[in-house]
């Protein structure tokens, strides 16, 4: 009686759903390339990339091209934008455009480095916990849970206050407080993947744990980790902004958050002094999230229609 039943899925697994007639999945020639194609076809990915490339260019080349020291007093304070200097001056009479260009370096440097730290710690914790399971998992997850109990920004503030306001400390502090979500994500992926046949096969072939973790499982767990790393850059930029805004950044390094923090007392009289650096942070985080979303859609096409 069940022969027909059994035969049926082989005939046509997903019957008359609306997506039934969607084109058959392309043969997976190169999944990375296919994902890149999907990414570039996504308008928000393109927009995000353009924003990020623009900001990176401005931060890297801008200070050389513009050639004004952001700490130098170039004129009267609170000159509105549109004159000379182009974007006006701040409460001290410093050139806002120069500060924006120079500040972009610090902000983006901290953003990328802190995200890197986040990913390294998070992936290490998550991979070990997910791969070994059992007590290792329980112990590592306990640590992760502990870190999640501390409000991230507050913890970062405490670290910077205690250990000194230097850009390296800021970066490390942001990395230290932000890794738990990445760890959980990585762990979940490892838990899912470690039971699959290709891992069993590699294990049967005599692969050691390090090889299994790094060369067998990790590449397959990469897509969601890449997405979370992208988003971690955005979070780090926001954190850097907040710390500098509160006066916890490196006072000798110009950054967007520092500009807002220093000028905020005069925001009512000279709104552009806070509007512009804030808009810069906004653009940077927006660019990163757009790219992150597009990456997510590209590596995860199933979810595309949902959000």
């Amino acid at each position: 009686m069940s022969a027909l039943v059994a035969a049926e899925p082989a005939v046509r697994p997903e019957p008359m759903r609306s997506e039934a007639a969607a084109p058959m999945p392309r043969p997976a020639v190169n999944p990375g390339l296919a994902a890149l194609r999907l990414f570039l076809r996504n308008p928000s990915g393109l927009l995000g990339s353009l924003i990020l490339i623009g900001l990176l260019f401005a931060a890297l080349a801008g200070p050389h091209l513009y050639g004004v020291d952001p700490f130098e007093i170039v004129g009267a304070p609170f000159q509105p934008p549109g004159g000379d200097p182009l974007l006006g001056t701040d409460y001290l009479g410093q050139d806002i455009l120069a500060a924006l260009l120079q500040g972009g370096r610090a902000t983006l440097l901290v953003g990328f480095s802190a995200a890197l730290i986040t990913v390294v710690i998070g992936v290490t914790f998550g991979a070990l916990a997910g791969f070994f399971g059992g007590r290792v998992d329980a112990a590592l997850m306990k640590v992760t849970e502990f870190f999640q109990v501390l409000p991230t920004l507050l913890f970062a503030m405490v670290l910077v206050t205690l250990f000194g306001q230097r850009i390296a400390i800021t970066t490390i502090a942001i990395g230290i407080v932000s890794w738990p979500p990445t760890a959980r994500l990585t762990r979940a992926e490892f838990l899912r993947l470690r039971g699959l046949d290709f891992v069993k096969a590699a294990r049967a072939a005599g692969a050691g744990p390090l090889y299994l973790i790094g060369r067998v499982i990790l590449p397959n767990a990469a897509p969601p980790i890449v997405v979370s790393a992208t988003l971690a850059i955005g979070t780090a930029v926001l954190f850097e902004g907040a710390l500098s805004f509160l006066g916890l950044g490196d006072p000798n390094v110009m950054s967007w958050g520092l500009m807002i923090g220093q000028n905020r007392a005069y925001a009512l009289e000279a709104w552009w002094t806070v509007l512009l650096p804030g808009a810069a942070i906004f653009l940077a985080v927006l660019g990163v999230s757009l790219v992150g979303d597009a990456v997510n859609d590209a590596v995860n096409p199933r979810l595309r229609k949902r959000s």
């Binding site: 009686m1 069940s2 027909l4 039943v5 046509r12 008359m16 759903r17």
Partner: protein, 331 residues
């Protein structure tokens, strides 16, 4: 006797960016009170779409573009949404394929059965729960009092499907659509569920539209059968007569895939090992203008390849077949 359900020339179309795509084409069948009609065919033939069209629950993009669906004489395809809502769950109801996901995980079984009673029969909370309890007993769930307050995840698959049946029959509907009600269940449980459906049908006089590819169950409980292929009915008639002497090669092929039925019908076709029908059902939008089965059919010849779709034509008493070369009548 007037049929409870009469589907006439039902046509369903999917709207795609590149134009409309036919899903169901001029489908007609009917079923009387206390009787069962089975819709059979491979996945992708349009069985579930037929069910959803009758319920008025077609997914987005799909729409009935022609034909009538008469429930006790009333054309429900043309009814107002509010009228259709009033009928759903009371005069017509449906059991779905997947009892695991068709029940809401966050409400108790009793609550979900009582819901339709409170809505359609205006019962109070307590009275509705009492009726729900009676229904759980009617579908032979052991320790029904306890199960009333259970959540779906606390029940086995077979038990959940019984709950679905209780829910569907709570308001004593005139028509029950059962969409592959046993596919997701263990083989032993499958037979129990069919027995239960039959017993409840005898008691309530419900007409049943049974969608299945289990031809064994069709032989057991269906009075009439309609074989669907690529959105069309290609053979229909009295179950016994169709089973004994299928006239469409597709029907014959389906039965060739079902071991214990080959004793009757396929035996004379010179048996051999269990056969599969080669090829695939043509996907939506790729249906040919000629007989849709031609490319899978061993009997297809120039007539089949040069002519449009064969019409569903009368072929003996209460039989119809859509084929240019129907098999000879039963020997």
């Amino acid at each position: 006797m007037d049929p409870v359900l009469a589907v006439e020339d039902l046509t369903v179309t999917l709207t795609r960016p590149d134009g409309p795509v036919p899903v169901l084409e001029r489908l007609s069948f009917s079923v009387e009170a206390g009787r069962t009609v089975a819709l059979v065919g491979e996945s992708g033939c349009g069985k579930s779409m037929t069910a959803l069209a009758i319920m008025g629950l077609l997914p987005e993009g799909f729409a009935r573009t022609d034909g009538r669906i008469r429930l006790a004489g009333e054309d429900i395809a043309a009814a107002q949404p509010s009228r259709l809502r009033a009928l759903r769950g009371s005069a017509l109801s449906m059991i779905f394929q997947e009892p695991m996901t068709a029940l809401n995980p966050v409400y108790t079984v009793g609550d979900q059965i009582a819901e339709a009673l409170r809505l359609h029969q205006r019962l109070g909370r307590r009275a509705a729960l009492e009726r729900a309890l009676a229904m759980l007993r009617a579908v032979q769930i052991p320790a029904a009092e306890r199960r009333l307050h259970a959540y779906p995840h606390e029940l086995s698959g077979g038990m959940r499907q019984r709950v679905m049946i209780a829910m569907a029959l709570a308001c004593r509907p005139k028509l029950l659509i059962a969409d592959e009600p046993t596919t997701a269940l263990d083989v032993t449980v499958q037979a129990q569920v069919f027995d239960l459906l039959k017993a409840l049908q005898d008691e309530m006089g419900t007409a049943i539209v049974l969608i299945t590819h289990d031809l064994g169950a069709v032989a057991d409980i269906a009075d009439t059968v309609a074989v669907l292929y690529a959105g069309r009915c290609i053979e229909q008639g009295d179950t016994r007569s169709v089973m004994r002497a299928p006239q469409h090669p597709y029907t014959r092929g389906l039965m060739g895939c079902t071991p214990h039925l080959r004793l009757g019908a396929a035996a004379d076709a010179g048996t051999g090992p269990l056969r599969e029908i080669p090829g695939l059902v043509p996907p939506l939008g790729r249906r040919p203008a000629i007989c849709a089965f031609a490319d899978r059919c061993g009997r297809a010849d120039a007539t089949c390849l040069d002519n449009p779709q064969p019409p569903l034509a009368e072929a003996g008493p209460a039989r119809a077949v859509a084929c240019w070369h129907p098999e000879a009548r039963a020997a």
